[in-house]
Amino acid sequence: MAFIDSLQSIIPIALFYSAPLIFTALGGVVSERSGVVNIGLEGLMVMGAFVGIVFNLTFADVFGAATPWISIIAAAVVGGIFALLHAVASITFRADQVVSGVAINFLAVGLGVFLTKQWYGKGQTDMVQQPFYSKSVPILSEIPVIGEMFFARAYYTSYLAIFLAFVGWFVLYKTTFGLRLRSVGEHPMAADTNGINVYKMRYIAVILSGALGGLGGAVFALTIALNFSGSTIVGQGFMALAAVIFGKWHPLGALGAALFFGFAQSLSVSGLPILDNVPDVYLTIAPYLLTILALAGFIGRAEAPKASGDPYIKGSR
């Protein structure tokens, strides 16, 4: 039964670490599918974490137990607005999308810490009093073996993330909107000829990616970090970006990749007895090493959406 016990200790932690990555990676998929590279996921997460924490601290007394949920909604809205900068620069001003994404990352950290100092008088905020708590799902957690793994001590945000991945797949592959969004990323001129407004679709996609990135950052802040400082989000956005590519620009692929990263991260914190003799450093670098090996060995050449990275200039060929 040792194996089952291990799974029961690992899976909840894996889900816990995966959730922020899933949200953010979905944002990356939507944006890149429309043809806009989003290196700025990291910055969008920073913004989400900042708004999530500040909102939570400010309104904890007003909303009580509902505070974390309203906080992540606020973070998603602000994330969407913040992503507008990337949209305007890379779609309307035809900026290099990678460069604009880098600027988003710089700006989010600068702005977040600047405002934190401004409002709280120090480099980091207090701990939130209304974070997300792990809960046992009624009934489902009673299922033998599986209940303990997936439904006891779990965060509802993790289920929301997984659910959204399926919604993302449905929207992208089963709806007209999704077809248009993908066509804009593959061949914008053909899409334009067919009467699809390329600029509008791309704006929608980038704003959506901002909302999802903000959601990811806020969930990270309210489940894992519990406060905000310049070092709250250090690289999770880049991990999410890796999940996008690892998952071959597909919502369910990104979900799988994010779960894999969460699983690899949980190895180093789960304290499994089998792993006691392995130096920490191997477990810490495992997710990164495994990603490299997987990309080099199994996944091979992944094709990005064809027009990804190219600004669309109406009338040019």
Binding site: A95, V99, N105, F106, L241, F246, R301
Partner: protein, 348 residues
């Protein structure tokens, strides 16, 4: 019509101006006096010989990471991994520098070479995977950053020392620091590395603009398919470009290890030298001279910012915002170009 060369100078200049202007507006909005803020910034960067020395110290690694990112960019590669390459360069420099003593003429070059090779190796892996497997270099370099960070912390604690949080100090024979320069600048941490950095910039300019190899790098950057058709070995060029880029970044680590600090602390987070190098390269238009100028600008902004909270009460993060906006404006150069041409037309 404006010539392209003029645009290449005008656009970064206008971007910097707009960035500073936006910073001033933010200061005004939060009730600070922007003039006081910028005076504090200026004094913090150039106000005394000490501050000036510190500015030069900060500029030194920026030149290297800027060159690293710029070099890769020229052959169409995006090296986000400068950060990790800095860390391994720093680690190896300190390792060689602290583990034995030798005459300086041997020890110092050996240490610097070790750092360059370490960075080169850290660039070689993503280069190899890109060239042979078509794996996106951005993802691999991001992963390599984390591996460098955690691995170097482990090495410092378990191999270089016995559970200490920072490495031993390097031997004097491997040090870049100079008593003369320090006395001249009121004991700032300025060191000889700036000369090596400027020399490296010259090497990059010469390599890219004046040699056949440089021509091939640029050709691959413009159009890999056409280059292949023209008989250029694209794979070799991709690998080589990442290797050289990594070596530049590794040298930035050597500057920190041999010049500024003389040891390596374990890092809980990234040094940000590599990521700032992206900004430096972008503002510098991915050219050697431009990179040096941009490194001076960002170095002055970063060091000067440290004086803003005490002298003007402005949080130093304001400068991060200004830098981010400068990058935005550079990225949106199409927009600036359009406005400039507009003005030009109306002027006629």
């Amino acid at each position: 019509m404006f010539s392209n060369r003029l645009f290449n100078i005008l656009i970064p200049t206008i971007s910097v101006f707009l960035g500073l202007l936006a910073g001033a507006i933010i200061m005004l909005a939060f009730g600070y006096n922007p003039i006081e803020g910028y005076i504090a910034l200026w004094n913090g960067a150039f106000g005394s010989s000490y501050f000036f020395g510190e500015t030069i110290r900060q500029v030194t690694p920026y030149i290297f990471t800027g060159l690293a990112v710029a070099f890769a960019f020229r052959s169409g590669l995006f090296n986000i991994g400068a950060e990790g390459q800095v860390i391994v360069g720093w680690l190896v420099a300190v390792w060689i520098g602290s583990s034995f003593e030798a005459p300086m003429i041997i020890h110092l070059p050996l240490t610097i070479l070790g750092a360059a090779l370490a960075g080169a190796f850290w660039g070689f892996i993503p280069g190899l995977l890109k060239a042979t497997k078509g794996v996106h270099e951005v993802i691999i370099t991001i992963m390599m950053n984390y591996i460098a960070l955690h691995l170097s912390n482990y090495m410092i604690r378990n191999v270089l020392t016995d559970n200490q949080d920072s490495s031993n100090r390097i031997a004097d024979s491997a040090s870049l620091s100079s008593t003369w320069l320090m006395e001249l600048t009121d004991y700032s941490r300025i060191h000889w590395g700036i000369l090596i950095a400027l020399f490296a910039a010259f090497i990059m300019w010469f390599l890219i603009e004046k040699t056949t190899a440089g021509y091939e790098f640029r050709a691959v950057g413009f159009n890999p398919n056409a280059s292949k058709y023209a008989g250029i070995n694209v794979k070799k060029n991709i690998i080589l470009s990442m290797v050289i880029s990594g070596a530049f970044a590794g040298l930035a680590g050597a500057m920190e290890g041999l010049g500024t600090f003389g040891y390596m602390p374990s890092h809980s987070a990234f040094t940000n030298l590599g990521f700032d190098g992206i900004a430096v390269a972008l503002l510098g238009g991915n050219a050697a001279l431009g990179t040096v100028i941009a490194a001076f600008l960002f170095g002055s902004l970063k060091v000067g910012a440290l004086n803003m909270p005490t002298s003007a009460g402005v949080p130093s993060e304001l400068v991060e915002i200004v830098i981010a906006l400068i990058i935005f404006f550079v990225a949106s150069s199409y927009f600036i170009r359009w406005i400039l041409l507009r003005f030009k037309k109306e002027g006629k």
